[in-house]
Symmetry: C2
Subunit: 413 residues, 2 copies
């Protein structure tokens, strides 16, 4: 397969095929000039092709405003376009411009959402993809057979390096595998990146020396290219094992650059993702963009979680997790799904039922800190809930067997 | 002013102040844990502050789905939050994570759009901003007192380097000041970046030698960091005068990196912008994001145009143009607004009336190529229309005076 495929949900009051042809034209040859015969042949070779149109039905009112309106029923359809990969080359910003560029503004459409992409095989050979991915992250921690359990440093801002390190100490002594910076935490005056690394890695290295287990801390290195490279190197020198990037804002070119350099897994934070995903007929679904992030080299990818505090439906969460876990070309290019937002022991059961594996990172904030028997009991409640879910126990069996799980259900359920 | 301000349009069925406090919390301290007294003080210092709430009215149905619903009227409001700049530091990805991060997914809101931002003064001293901006771009061309007139190479894809150069020759001989690559054109097999630069710059340099006027060609250098730096250097060596970036996909960190290095103006293409802007209650308005692009160093910024073929309203287009032209801290940090999409001689009159200046780049495709008397007449029709508009002539006066303007109105009007 040497063509790039993209599937869209579209809505239009225009004649369907005409509207789709406009879309295909805008995203490829986009010509409006007369050109001689030879060039026309060349051009036709590189035009986007409409692969499939599946009419879904009609709607009473346009989903998005400001579309041009024809006096026809407003139809929704699922359609697939394809491009020869020669159009794009091995170029991620141009890949995004092709599948996710001007087309959202086209006047013919009162709805347009990119649902998924299918990548040319040559991309699998060219792009390095995640250096660590699922297996590499688990190997780095020496964990297997259960999800990686983690949390986020809160307050997100306001803590100095020492207070952060104190919190890290409490959290890893309570049994957590993984801790991350909040996406808002960078290198503020009162908590410089280097100070935070010094203080937190001292605690983590000390814990590793004593116990033989080294928890992973994802430090947010997002900044300029030079800052990110320097922060990566500084962290590596101090024994760090994970970097975090604000993916939407550092951008694809920067992700590629840092990933090439990185000797640690990249924890991919998708803040701003609501812009892309919140409206059912605008933007893109997670499988589309996350595949490109994986090609760029991101190892761990945020997916929300079941019954999250945000607006994402469980169906969408599950589809995102499955997509991240599904190989593009090999097991190595799978990304580790990071579940978070309103998570506690309770969702272990639904999540395992939907996914049937534990290739996950499971982050809880209140679900650990708020446990009525304390933080260590909060962590235990997660371990037991996941173990019970994996063993096929029902919620009531697990509550009966594990006091900390029962307490979690009483408190959070 | 040492705080960052952001103004939002929001919609919620929750008690307004509570919902806004959640939003402010999520985007700053975001705490849910009990912390000791000293840390609490520290934290309160860095919490986001609600500066203003202006209730706009109520709506019958939620604008976005999946919000949590309280049995209250659904209110819309314009609100302003502020953060101490210490939270963010001089860090553009973290600035975006603060004003444009997780908040779009918050369950309390059935609508949330970032309208504008106001930047701390210290940013003006720290960030270089556009190296060329409006004045630098006009100076590079040696043009003054009228808009820079340009076009886009079409077909967007499919042309080889030689065919592109032939088209460039035709276009500059017809009198155009500026030409740009399509955003889909990168460095495909059939038209390598270096080949295109060689062929097109030969034509442009030759024309400059003969006439003393050197048109500007914005080559799309978007790619990896190394590719972009190499392409910049290659182009500079061949006498090039402008580079183009696909801003949303290369990302803020990459833009900063390239801008620091660049010795040419950066033409900022915003493809994908429809995702951010198309829904009136989701994403962001252009003044917000374009200010951050300007701090990162972008010189020329796409704004659509009046009566464009896309979905943007004229009101929004005008607001974008004015925002780009409005200094952040100095005349140097203004960005050159690039008007395009469905433009021809006709919009010169409305545009000048709204803007009252010619600090613009005015790009036409069909509006030049499709002119009934040919391409040179198309360019002439733009020059005369702008001249007439600047002199305060009415459309009918201009049509009477200039045949090519009259033909344009007959054909495109």
């Amino acid at each position: 397969m040497n063509r790039l495929h993209a599937t869209y949900l579209i809505e239009t009051s225009f004649e369907l095929e005409k509207a789709i042809n406009t879309m295909a034209g805008e995203q490829s040859t986009g010509t409006f000039v007369k050109i001689p015969g030879e060039s026309r042949e060349l051009m036709e070779k590189y035009a986007a092709k409409v692969e499939n149109i599946e009419v879904l039905g009609t709607v009473a009112a346009p989903s998005l405003p400001h579309a041009k309106h024809k006096n026809n029923p407003i139809q929704q359809a699922r359609i697939t376009l394809s491009w020869p990969m020669e159009n794009i080359g091995f170029n991620l910003p141009n890949l995004m411009a092709t599948v996710g560029g001007n087309l959202f503004e086209l006047g013919q459409f009162s709805g347009l959402k990119l649902l998924d992409i299918r990548l040319p095989d040559a991309y699998g050979k060219y792009f390095d993809g995640p250096k660590f991915g699922i297996q590499g992250t688990f190997d780095s921690l020496g964990i297997s057979g259960r999800p990686i359990l983690g949390t986020i440093i809160k307050p997100s801002v306001g803590l100095d390096a020492e207070a952060t390190a104190n919190q890290v100490k409490t959290l890893i002594e309570a049994g957590l595998d993984f801790i991350k910076d909040d996406e808002l935490m960078g290198s503020p005056e009162y908590n410089h990146f280097e100070d935070r690394v010094d203080a937190c890695m001292a605690v983590i290295n000390d814990y590793a020396d004593k116990t033989g287990f080294k928890p992973m801390y994802a430090f947010n290195i997002s900044g300029t290219i030079d800052e990110m490279l320097n922060r990566h190197d500084y962290l590596l020198e101090k024994g760090g094992t994970c970097i975090m990037l604000n993916l939407n804002w550092v951008g694809f070119s920067s992700i590629q650059h840092i990933a090439k350099h990185s000797q640690m897994p990249i924890h991919g934070h998708r803040n701003g993702w609501g812009i892309f995903s919140r409206h059912p007929l605008l933007g893109m679904e997670y499988p589309a963009i996350s595949k490109v992030w994986r090609m760029a080299g991101v190892d761990q990818l945020h997916c929300n979680g079941i019954r999250n505090k945000f607006c994402e439906t469980d169906e969408s969460v599950i589809a995102s997790i499955k997509s991240c876990q599904n190989p593009l070309w090999s097991l190595q290019d799978r990304a580790l799904p990071v579940l978070s937002s309103g998570q506690w022991a309770g969702q272990a059961f639904d999540t395992f039922e939907a996914i049937q594996n534990t290739d996950l990172m499971y982050l809880c904030g209140g679900g650990i800190m708020g446990h009525p028997s304390g933080i260590a009991a909060g962590v235990e409640s997660l371990k037991y809930a996941w173990q019970a879910a994996m063993e096929g126990q029902s919620v009531s069996e697990a509550r009966e067997k594990y006091k900390v799980v029962d307490e979690a259900f009483q408190f959070f359920g």
